[in-house]
Amino acid sequence: MMEFQGYLRADGTVGTRNYTVVLPTIDCANAMAKKIADGVVGAIPMLHNHACIRVGEDRRIGQETVIGIGKNPNVGAVLVVGIGCEPMCAQPIVDEIQKTGKPVDFVSIDKEGDYDTLIATGIAKLQELKAKADAFTREPCDVGKLIISIKCSASGTMSLISNNPVVGAAMDLLVQHGGTAIFSETAEILGAQQILKDKSVSEEVKKKIDAVSADMLRKIADAGVDILGSEPNQGNIQNGLTTIEEKSLGAVSKSGTTPLQDVLQYGEAPKGTGVYFMDGSSTSAPLFLGGFMVGSQVGIFTMGGGLPARFRGLPSHSSGFHALPTLKVLGSPAEVDVKDDFDIYTGSVITGEESIQELGRKLFEKIIAVAGGEEPVNEQVVGDYQEMLQVYAIGLLM
């Protein structure tokens, strides 16, 4: 069994970080959650946009997202901040998070009565929670307990030659060691469905690939739009891509060569280990949140090239997602001058200096190091910038 230095949680999951989190039940509580978090050094607020305007399936997704954030093993302790009139109040959220066995408590404006009392009580409770979380220490944990969330961006034709196949090779190694990888972006399997079906474990999984693809195609047809300019976008087109079909070939290559275990609904937890596809948007924010809410402890953000390679931190609402340490992978030799802004540079495949397999091993080793506490580039540069987490929505927002 291969090991890394992680935080072994009471429920058997393992964390790669140990944050004390202030978690609003709903968007109305964001500012109060931030104020409380500001009162305790080292605690972080995880603000989000779950709101009362969500109905039906989207309400369920929002509530499960909030609970999932609290349950994630990178979160050592949680203070929930509630209102008292939201669709799911603080107490039932605490009850769910408590099932993991981690320290959790709450304050709510209906119980505390006024703003000043809420903030003061919140800070006092948060101090206690932080002390409990700080008592956890790293110990040897099974690499097979890692769940990696993968997102590709700044795609180009290089994405099918260097960065995404290298990520795929690293995911093959992860799966060999018993680990799990989740990729998503339903629009970006269009044109590459056969590749995924060919490696699906069952007929049922193949049918699910067809079903999520058909649903996406129907939405595109209903919208009556040309998706060129979004899928692929202008940056992708500058990077040589022409159609969504071409982009998808590169996108799915990041899932590696091991069997596709299942197609998950957004926010559905994998039932076993191996590679999983999660239905959802190509937007980074809900993608990484979708992985995080089902227990993902490390992210991989793979970039082809172009201007986003020059951001140093992560683009598209991923930079300030502190609780999910995320590695950056660069594919294009044209951006070799900024390769130190990445955790791994794979343009050397294109220049013939290194192989996909060699770099896949390097990336896998880097993932293990980051899981064990090493700071990836984004963590080094992000500072105190906090992201507003974006909860996924599929339907009517009132």
């Binding site: 290089m158 595109i220 739009v225 022409t242 969504i244 079909e245 071409e246 294109i350």
Partner: protein
Amino acid sequence: MKRCIVLAAKDNVATVLADVPCGEEILVVDQEFVAIGSVLAIEDISYMHKISLQTIEEGDAIVKFGACIGVSVQKIETGQQVHIHNMRSLVGKK
């Protein structure tokens, strides 16, 4: 010599790994970066864009990595750039 990479045997396009000016002969390499032939660029082709490896008639599939990535909207000669001006997706509004 500059190179272009062809990702599967039945592909009719390859990806150029450098800016290629019109009139330059470039090596065609396979996925293992082994040279398997050459092609003459008959127009400027930008880094990481695609070059046609054969004559492609209007409406024919553009094949890359063994998969159809769209169709040509005009006749494309060997050595021409294949990009959004002469091919389109089969997904969404046309």
